[in-house]
Symmetry: none
Subunit: 208 residues, 4 copies
DNA sequence: GACTAAGCGAGACGGTACGTCGCGTCTTAAA
DNA sequence: TTTAAGACGCGACGTACCGTCTCGCTTAGTC
């Protein structure tokens, strides 16, 4: 096929091909070994690219890793409309459980934690491009639940989001418990009572 | 009579003094710089101890860091008996919030995450010596609440523990929201409804 | 025109400059201290080169030392034609006596002995590049003597070479006797009778 | 047997047993590995003796090694009277060839060279206790030959000793040629002509 | 269609830290 | 009180990557 031929996928310039190779190699090496064992020399060898070419594009190994990681992480699947809010929340949490437990996203996130702690610019990017999306999705589902009359109107959306996902990441990062199929349901059932419209005469521990 | 047996602090052997110096230096260097910038050579220089002496006690830099970290982390403050379970749970969570937000424990825990992911032996140690303590404390409080008649009898203790602490660590690790004074209370109030004894005719989302 | 191509000393590439610096430093440090006290770190510091750069070129400290040593040793001065074989042999041996006794070659050779014993590859290199040259030179002189009619035709060249130099090295390595000016002459006069053409009726101890 | 019982081999004190164990272990480790791979820690482990006990007796690793080596080396077998001087010299040289080629004495001597170069006290000990014995033995044989009328009366004994043994050590240390059975004979036949009584009318290259 | 400068591969370089080994000294507990 | 066991300070080892730096060789674009 001649260069610039229409129809097919745009012919990539050398520079673009190079960048793609680097990113692919980085992803591959992240998969086995995680951030901890990722080395620039490894990426260079695996991608057939010179080390200097990598450094021409990313200032450091961490920047490269994080570019890839952020790119992977920001994929968020919107939850379709289901019968009730409980089902929708379970679907949402289940999505996170699955991607963290079954793909390399889990180890990627583990490696990401100290980077976020160190690099405030990265932390902001992560909040804006990843966390915010999750909050929005939670908000969307909760608002729908409120409209349906299922949920209280004074829900703390940010907190709910933190409870739902916090428990998942707690397993991933610290407790080491498995990310299994029942987890999402249990989490939602633990959080949901605080979201539901109070029944008449319902007893509560909240201070008056 | 054993030398130094009376009165003052027990006379330390050289070996003990050495170990103490290493740990102190490690703690100091962890404080500024975190796990990321901790080096064995730095610890050696700072503690006035030979590198080989450090390696005689810990197999690697990570093991040293983690020994210190685990040692710091496993300090769990038992929650005293308070008026009600809500107050006690808030006190428990507030303890974690404070230590993670105000001391270097926060950054230490951030650095710990990828280590736990990599080193399964360490992960087990962490679970046994840190997570398990937390679970026990949650269990103690919840059992007391059940005995008092405040709480349901079929509580999922593990899940509760994950919800309570998961949200705290989620802020620390990912969302970057501040670990402030109101957090513990909000978390507990988000989780508590699922723990309370159901009032008669209470509406629930749980499947029958 | 290539930079520096005309006239002056050829412009060296960085790599060449580096190698030269390493070798110079090694020679300098060998001079004071000998092989025993030579360290790669010392060479690195003295040459302003990184340790890793040294290890990129030589597999170990010994290899470096020996590369330099071999390089120094393989300088063999060809003996010019003199009046007779005796004078030529004396000149040859005297050359070895002088370089071993007056330069640092002596201590270098002392340090070389256990290396040769340990490293068979090195031993081969030494035999091929140093010993062989000496044998050749002895052979050249002896053949000339045979052509002149001075020497027997059935001389054992290898043995002669070993006798001539063995005595020199024996002093250097073991007996500690000085390598003085008369030594070469005495050695040659001890060996020469076995090389000369037998006079008629000459008495010999050799078995028939 | 009760302590101090007379008759049997003297009961060794603990100190003597310890020393013997150290020496035995040193000899054993010298056998495999040579001086180069001899370590004090190895000797301690192999002899079941504490390192500090070794250092109480020898100031350094080298001293220990050399004590053992010297002890081994100074074993010189006196050559019995044979038919003629040639046979006796061959027997003498053959003794050295055999012990250097077939036992660990060869590698021991190789390792000894740089030590002798470094440690002048050791060098003197070696000369006095080893070299001198060899010279004496050569002298004894040569004097007998002179008395028999076989040899010239103005023989340079020291030189002869250096020629005879130098060639052997030259092979061992530098040329790497095998120490085989013919070697001693060839060496002696190379040196002997210079020792024999000159036949009448014999041609010589010596200056008048 | 040749020319040129930017981009690239290759990989050497100065560094920093790693974890190891062996030295010779020093401490401690036991005999 | 002497010794065995072994921890200690030290210094060098050889390795792995870091991020920088030359080098020629492509390879697009410009004339």
């Amino acid at each position: 096929m001649t260069p610039g031929a229409s129809g097919g996928p745009a012919r990539l310039t050398r520079s673009e091909r190079t960048e793609a190779a680097i990113l692919a190699a980085t992803r591959e090496l992240l998969a086995k070994g995680g951030v901890r064992e990722l080395t620039v020399e490894g990426v260079a060898a695996c991608s057939g690219v010179a080390k200097s070419t990598i450094y021409r594009r990313w200032r450091s190994k961490d920047e490269l890793a994080l570019a890839v990681v952020i790119d992977m992480v920001q994929t968020v699947v919107a939850v379709p409309s289901l019968a009730d809010t409980r089902s929708e929340l379970i679907a949402l949490v289940q999505g996170a459980v699955r991607v963290l437990g079954k793909t390399l996203m889990g180890s990627v996130m583990q490696g990401l934690v100290p980077e976020l702690a160190t690099d405030s610019e990265l932390a902001r990017a992560f909040r804006d491009r990843v966390v915010a999306l999750r909050v929005q999705e939670v908000e969307r589902l909760l608002r729908r639940g409120i409209e349906r009359g299922e949920l209280r109107t004074d829900i703390d959306i940010g907190l709910t989001h933190e409870l739902l996902f916090g428990a998942v990441y707690y397993r991933l990062f610290l407790s080491g418990e498995p990310l299994d199929r029942k987890l999402a349901e249990r989490i939602v059932d633990g959080v949901l009572p605080g979201l539901l419209k109070p029944a008449a005469g319902r007893r509560t521990a909240r201070p008056t």
